[in-house]
Subunit: 351 residues, 2 copies
């Protein structure tokens, strides 16, 4: 019996609804498999926790998490309670950084029953490899002056190591897929960082002569997600561009409530973290209608990471079946509850 | 007879095809109107010019342009000839900056015959007010070290003056429209500049109690452009976010070949510049199939700027008619040429 120790952080808002749903599916999957077991340890770190303790997680939070095989996270943030940059940099982004989860992988694909807003979604099947450790997300910078003279400076930092690492990951992934990498750039408008990004891309691609490439400005690229998503295989993007493209990926699938993600630690020193693309959606929290699929598909990515691809693929297949059968939450045009979708997925997993 | 002196810069690629098309329409419109006349002076500043002269425009280029009532520009950039950041910062962005064209207005709306890729485009009608003078587009920053230690730093600079100016413009525009402003933010991920952006927005909105507001993170906002574009009236966005959203605006209209734009100088010291959202599209240049509508709709925005709204609206109405009649270039699913679309627009203007 293989055992996986998982730290569970439901976080805020609908995180508290979809994480339990996904744990039910994981337990069902373990049962069906027979040879694996999950040990879940839950941590209440969230904006509510902040209001009580003045911090998003305890001082030794990272030490506590370090011993686990993986972190399974829902969503963080509730701007009515805590300013977003405080809550996110105190938990989600902190874990990504400190645990060197340098790559964020986010697939988007078209499957039956999805209800894409596109007339012709054309069977797209893409993966965004998002640089997850630096770039536009940085604490470097600050403010000066007050009143009408005030100004804020935000530094984006692109290192060759960080940039190259994300690109190589993308190329290696493309080699296992359809052999195409698109680089998301903006070297016509962003003067220092993006020309550097292009240079590194042009160098790295020499090492992968079997992979075809394209470099597309982020503005045009975002438009192509809507008009021609089938043109993409693997896309490598900076932290911010990856963030934007993956919400778009969710949108063209029909709902960002479906989109999964994995924050990958590559050096084996720390656990990886699995959290869907969507946020905490405080507006629908408590209604029992949050879409659990993003979190469940994210659980599948965690299984893949553990080497349990077969089980992971089974879960994805069942998600597709349930969606095709029309058991969908309101965001996907259905009328099922979180519980109903989850129940149906577990029922079919067992069948 | 009112006379307008216009500096014309076709630029690169399809700019050289769609600008002449739009000038024909402007001349036809003047004829129909009877009381106005345009004097066009053309400048060949472009990547080809750069290859001959080592710069995108002559040293006294800005001085030459300064005397005109407006600048009418096609598209700039041809990365096979000149690196994008050189060509753009040497012409397009240089003019925007030096002539204090601090606001970039970019409408997107749904009209008949448009062939939106969305199943349900739902009559959206929105305008993005893009901050056009600072933000993520900046020459502040640089590189250090070589080889594997190399790193690039890109500074985004947000001043209160620049930020507030764009926001006030958006609020005043919303007062003349449906009374709603959405702020594009990313204060959960971008640590210094976007929380500052939010603070300024929350202050400025107090002065416009008649305007309703929302603040939405750019990732979710981009997704809403696809799933619910009808929710927006006026959107105020930073330079980069505005860039991305307006290409998306083009995409949901059916083609970025339609999307128009105006770079507005507010202090009256320098001319404003009118250029469509799309780029120079070197891949289709020379085939005679470039969509002239973006450039022609941009000409309409120039007429509005001159106070000739009636004539401007007439042009837009005719564009809609021609599109509805199916006289469309291939990017919109039609088979007409640049010349045919232009001819049809002129014919109907005269009728
Ligand atoms: C060509 C490029 C520099 C420009 C920009 O990013 O501003 C273009 O994309 C635009 O939107 O006008
Ligand atoms: C919540 C926010 C900081 C986060 C991000 O921008 O990385 C989210 O949008 C995501 O995509 O995981």
């Amino acid at each position: 019996m293989k055992k996986f120790e998982i730290a569970v952080i439901p976080g805020d808002g609908i995180g508290k609804e979809v994480v339990p749903a996904a744990l039910t599916v994981l337990n069902t999957a373990a049962e069906v498999h027979g040879g694996i077991r999950f040990d879940f340890t839950e941590f209440p770190w969230s904006c509510d926790y902040y209001l009580k303790h003045g911090q998003m997680m305890p001082d030794d939070g990272l030490q506590i998490l370090q011993g686990f095989d993986a972190i399974f996270l829902g969503a963080v943030g509730n701007p009515r309670l805590v300013p977003d940059h405080i809550s996110l940099w105190g938990l989600l982004i902190k874990i990504r950084r400190e645990f060197e989860q340098v790559i964020n992988i986010r697939p988007a694909k078209c499957f039956k029953g999805l209800c894409s807003p596109l007339v012709n979604p054309n069977d797209f099947d893409l993966i965004v490899v998002r640089e997850n450790s630096e770039g536009e997300y940085s604490e470097v910078g600050g403010r000066i002056h007050r009143g009408e003279d005030e100004l804020a400076i935000q530094n984006a930092v692109f290192t060759r190591k960080g940039t190259e690492r994300a690109m190589r990951y993308a190329f290696e992934l493309a080699q296992k897929r359809r052999g195409h990498v698109t680089s998301a750039t903006k070297s016509n408008g962003i003067f220092h960082s993006m020309p550097f990004w292009d240079e590194v891309f042009n160098e790295v691609k020499q090492d992968y002569p079997d992979v075809a490439t394209a470099s597309i400005h982020i503005d045009a690229l975002a438009a192509f997600f809507v008009t021609r998503p089938q043109m993409f295989d693997v896309i490598v993007a900076s932290n911010l561009f990856g963030d934007i493209l993956t919400d778009l990926g969710g949108a063209i699938m029909g709902s960002i409530g479906i989109a999964p993600a994995a924050n990958i630690n590559l050096n084996g020193k720390y656990p990886s973290m699995f959290e869907p693309v969507h946020g905490s959606a405080p507006d629908i929290y408590g209604k029992g209608i949050a879409n659990p699929i993003g979190q469940i598909w994210t659980a599948k990515m965690m299984l893949d990471h553990f080497g349990e691809e077969e089980l992971g693929n089974k879960i994805l297949k069942v998600i597709e079946e349930v969606t095709e059968a029309g058991v969908k939450t309101p965001d996907m045009g259905g009328s099922a509850s979180t519980r109903e979708v989850t129940g149906e997925i577990c029922r079919r997993l067992k069948a």
